[in-house]
């Protein structure tokens, strides 16, 4: 029974990847990785189907279906209150931590249902890391911040320094902090703190990194550095990013999902997915008039 189920699922996945086949490749998405030159081969990491998200009785998001592909940057954009952050937090079951939050529908991660009863949300979060809106380093030293995750997974002490250095280099922070690893993370600037949080997230070598408006609390220069970093990181990680900065989505992402606020049948506000496509398509030739209105700045 389980076997056939798996087969069915995989068959459907294949079908979806075929549908997303499209002749144009985003010029903004430049990658050395060969697999991305041919989108049909892009592996589906997340497959979301008919997802509704609730806080208590409030339906924050309704009926969302989309796919996230391996080694790509997928951006969620839309006006505030459209449920894009809520949606992002469904991918690593972060919403479980909120009293009364629940979902209906399915999110499959590499084919496995994330909300299956058998699934341990803690295991999910080890594979699917997260960077938050406001830089939130621990009140510990720079070193201890990055070492936190590896320690959790029981990395040997002798390997710790190496992992910390690698992660800090990867997040382009090493040169700035290598002489003060034992200093408090709170002494860093906002942009540095956010890069530290990225280093902390990738130190556990996650499969996916979720980013919830990672630049919204930063100045333009710090923002530019983070964007640069994200573009570099996507060769190794699948990245899903929520942003309300459309230029940011256009610059960095391969796929873009546009969310909006709709009134449901009972007249209450709920978030919905308006359009999901290649970033280039969304920004140059959107299908839906609402998307067009938003990206041209008429709404939002």
């Amino acid at each position: 029974m389980v076997e056939t189920n798996n087969l069915n699922e995989s068959a459907r996945e294949e079908k979806k990847t075929t549908i997303s086949l499209s002749p144009t490749i985003s010029s903004m998405a430049t990658r050395g990785d060969e697999s991305t030159a041919d989108p049909s081969a892009a592996e589906v990491i997340f497959d979301v189907e008919k997802l509704d998200a609730f806080y208590g009785d409030f339906k924050a998001l309704s009926n969302v279906s989309l796919q996230v592909y391996k080694s790509q940057v997928t951006a969620f954009i839309g006006p505030s209150g459209c449920g894009k952050s809520t949606f992002l937090r469904c991918f690593n079951r972060m919403n479980d931590l909120i009293e009364g939050a629940r979902v209906e529908g399915t999110i499959k991660y590499r084919g496995a249902d994330l909300y299956d009863e058998e699934v341990d949300p803690v295991e999910v979060r080890r594979r699917i890391g997260m960077v938050f809106q406001k830089p939130n380093p621990f009140p510990k030293s720079i070193f201890e911040n990055v070492a936190y995750g590896p320690r959790l997974s029981g990395l040997k002490k002798s390997k710790l320094a190496e992992t910390v250095e690698k992660s800090l280099r990867r997040s382009a922070l090493w040169d700035e902090v290598k002489d003060r690893l034992s200093a408090s993370a709170y002494g860093l600037s906002g942009g540095q703190q956010q890069r530290l949080c990225i280093a902390r997230a990738i130190a556990v070598q996650p499969d996916v990194v979720l980013m919830d408006e990672p630049c919204s609390a930063l100045d333009p220069i710090a923002t530019a550095r983070i964007e640069e970093l994200i573009t570099e990181l996507k060769s190794e990680y699948t990245i899903v990013i929520v942003t309300h900065n459309m230029q940011q989505a256009a610059r960095m992402s391969d796929q873009t999902a546009f969310f909006s606020v709709a009134l449901d049948s009972h007249g209450s506000r709920t978030g919905e997915l308006v359009e999901f496509d290649k970033t280039e398509t969304i920004f140059t030739n959107p299908n839906d008039s609402r998307t067009e209105a938003y990206i041209t700045g008429r709404v939002g």
């Binding site: 995989s10 294949e14 081969a41 592996e43 991660y109 590499r110 084919g111 496995a112 341990d120 594979r127």
Partner: protein
């Protein structure tokens, strides 16, 4: 490397992923132990309260079931444990409570209003605030020294010496900082928008305060005030220093108001007295009187809870 594209490959991968995400029953054993450790510590505190009540009711049962009405209506008797009662203690505690409330509540709330609504961060306000915080930590028996020297001796023209008024002033000084601190928190919790809206339509400071802010903060202030009076009700140490009578008091034929300026005692002081006497009968009296005071405390806490829920915040 070509990616897994055959259905079979994908099925294998899915199974692997599913397996790796699976909940393992042993994975969070330390966490479960930690949680239960915390629960047992919390349970210890709660269970203690239960044990306390059971022990007191059990030890005082002979009194509570045998001669409850006499126990509640008799005065203190030095000669016989069987005749001793808590009436004078209850009267004294109520009187002291009234005196304490009359002195402490107006001053406490007024100070809080000054700190939150008027003080503009000057040295005086900072001094008052620091001072109140420090006063809150002063042991109750030290207030007893204050009462003995200032209220009993220096101000005896006003208090008539070792009287309910002196006791009430002493406990008022003791609970004053608590009332100030809880009232400050209550006033700070009133949204700034309410103040601005009222000033915006041309109200004076006093009008904003009396018609908007105080009504909005009243429930929290009442809750804090009532709880602080519960604390005053249970205090014996300062009253002992102020000279609460530890033996029999003859009220003579003085009326209720006159007893404010005569010798006094209070329920906790009586319990202390019962506990000091040797013998089973006195222990039973101490336990029974403890049950009486616990019921009073429970009633006061219930009142506090009622105020909190009755005027539930609207913002």
């Amino acid at each position: 490397m070509r990616l897994a594209s055959s259905p079979a490959d994908i099925a294998i991968q899915t199974a692997k992923t599913r397996q790796s995400l699976q909940r393992r029953p042993q994975a969070d054993l330390p966490g479960t132990l930690f949680k239960w450790l915390l629960i047992s510590f919390t349970g210890f505190a709660i269970a203690f309260l239960g044990v306390l009540v059971v022990v007191m009711v059990n030890d005082g049962w002979s009194v509570l079931s045998g001669r409850l009405s006499g126990f509640l209506s008799n005065g203190f008797s030095q000669r016989s444990a069987q005749d001793a009662g808590v009436w004078q203690g209850i009267v004294g505690s109520v009187q002291i409570g009234i005196a304490t409330a009359l002195f402490a509540i107006p001053v406490g709330i007024a100070t809080a209003i000054y700190l939150v609504e008027y003080a503009t961060g000057g040295w005086f306000a900072r001094a008052v605030e620091l001072n109140v915080r420090n006063l809150a930590g002063v042991p109750s028996i030290v207030y007893g020294l204050l009462g003995l020297t200032v209220f009993v001796k220096t101000l005896d023209g006003f208090t008539q010496g070792k009287t309910v008024i002196a006791g009430g002033l002493t406990l008022a000084a003791m609970v004053l900082p608590i009332i100030v601190i809880t009232s400050v928190e209550a006033l700070k919790a009133v949204p700034q928008g309410i103040r601005e809206a009222a000033y915006g339509v041309g109200a004076t400071k006093w009008e904003v305060l009396s018609r908007q802010i105080l009504p909005a903060a009243v429930s929290t202030i009442l809750t804090g005030t009532v709880l602080s009076l519960a604390r005053a009700l249970g205090e014996a140490a300062p009253l002992i220093l102020v000279g609460a009578a530890t033996g029999f008091i003859s009220f003579g034929d003085s009326n209720f108001l006159e007893t404010f300026t005569g010798p006094f005692t209070a329920l906790p002081v009586l319990i202390f007295n019962f506990a000091r006497q040797p013998g089973e009968d006195w222990s039973a009296n101490a336990a029974a009187a403890s049950v009486v005071i616990l019921i009073l405390v429970l009633m006061i806490n219930g009142a506090a809870l009622y105020f909190r829920n009755r005027f539930e915040k609207k913002w």
